[in-house]
Amino acid sequence: MRALDTLGMSVQAIARNKLRSFLTTLGIIIGVASVVAMVHLGQSATRSVTEQIASIGSNLLFVMPGTAQRGPGGLRTSAENFELADAEAIRNEVDGILVAPALTTSATVVIGNANDTIPVIGTTNEYFAVRNHYLEYGREFEDGELSSGAAVCIIGKTLIEEMFLGQEPLGSNIRVGRTACRVIGVLEAKGESMGQDRDKTILMPVKAVQRRLVGELDVSAIYVSALVDGSTGLVQDQIESLLRQRRNPVNGGADDFYVRDTQDIAQTLESTTNTLTILLGAIAAVSLLVGGIGIMNIMLVSVTERTREIGIRLAIGARARDVLTQFLVESIALSTLGGLIGLVIGVGGTWLVTWQLNMPFVISPTVMAVGFSFSVAIGVIFGYFPARKAAMLNPIDALRHE
């Protein structure tokens, strides 16, 4: 018997019973579509997290006061803040880095008739490069402004939209806390990141925030960017030993600061999304399995229903293996068809969801290949039992079947 004829016979049998064939395939369609969509969406979520972290700044280290111990309320920060001299020491002692000290607070900002509470970051010009957040227009702080703590500020895009109502902000004075402050620059738009609007912010010289807003001469964080890829580990070690020398003689005992790497954060988040992807994929795989059992059910019913046909085929000279092949090819054809339709629906669904949620659209050939091969494998596995049952029929019993 020629292979093409076997295929032709199976296709005819499928076409002869279109509704049943469709219902049989439906399980596989849903199974493959959900596996493909779930895994793709998981990868897309991972990509989106990675992209957001890259936008915070690459090779970025956060040096924070406190202990890196996680508690119910998140990180505990009960230690004393750093001094500007600490940032200065890091800058001088460690090679190949950019250092931006930061004192973060929030202040009531009044612009014309609008007022709002806005996060204010006191920092230096290194901030732009370290946090990968540059000026769109205007100018950076001048050295004089930095050393004197002048009342100048650089504002984020959200302030222009919400408080300046689209008016040109450069050169105008706004009130930050109790200080009148001149706008000298505007930051480029960054959008949302981890649920925060990164454009709703004000940058001022660190000394201005210290003296005019907070009234303390310390900094709440030091941002460090390693200039060489892959050197963050070494830089981290150097910063830790330096700060230990500078702080521990005062405080004694354990470290009262910690250094965190954006890559650490990225890895933590990535492993979380990966776990979720695996979980969702596994649930979807169960539905694929159920789809396979559906194929087996229908094929078994089909064998019973077509017993007489099998008897005729055996009587006119079909061998057991001819009948086996015919039914096996039939179930493989059904599951392959289902797999293809499922792929299309799965990829389409992924595209729709990522488009709606503004996530990156990721397509993985591996995932598609695995999903599709699974559907074919299911056709083989769940088609074999009914096909064998058909092939093992006794011709005379099959012919007498009513």
């Binding site: 020629r2 004829d5 007489r308 006119i316 000279g317 079909a318 061998r319 057991a320």
Partner: protein
Amino acid sequence: MTEPGNVGGSATPQFAPSVVEMRDIYKIYGSGATEVRALDGVSLNIRAGEFVAIMGPSGSGKSTCMNILGCLDVPTSGEYWFRGVEVGGLDRDELALLRRNFMGFVFQSFNLLPRTSALSNVELPLIYEGVRPARRHELAMKALKTVGLVDRAHATSAQLSGGQQQRVAIARALVTEPPVLLADEPTGNLDTAMAGEIMKELVSIREQRGITILMVTHEPDIARYADRVLFFTDGKLIRDGAPAEVIP
């Protein structure tokens, strides 16, 4: 093992070779008190070119005998030689090849594939033989021509009358040009006029091709078309001879 086509083990001095030879065939269902002997020690010999009718009341074993002759069923004990081959020693696939190459079947209920054209039905045995589509089509049309149904080649079973369906079934049985045709009550589902036509068809095919025909029937009128009648009762072959001698 003897090659098919050779003269069988029979010592009967005949000019035509033996096609079928049964020696002491038993077919027993169940055991002990519920034992049923469908065939109870049957021996027979059929030579090439014979037209044999197998008769008997229902339950006499004639259908069981036919199924064993057609290699669709195997005997409980005894020897069955088909064209010099002892069928008892063959496995399922070898039996299938024997049916494919040397036998054509015609059934009482036609047994055409539903929702399939006459042409496709006739082509089916050739598909299993691995014949290419163009050649298959040619042979199937030739077979349909033999039974006078060329113009109905693309009609499905439901669009054909009973007589036409049986003629398609005959074309399907003959398309591989087998030396033996087995017919199980071929006229059982047809009216008298149609039955007569089918029988004339079989007689003319036999004259043209010298084919051996084995036919089960319970109707004496149909059996008279044969030139030899085997009469079964209670699983035993009790009469064997020309129709005039056997049919009362």
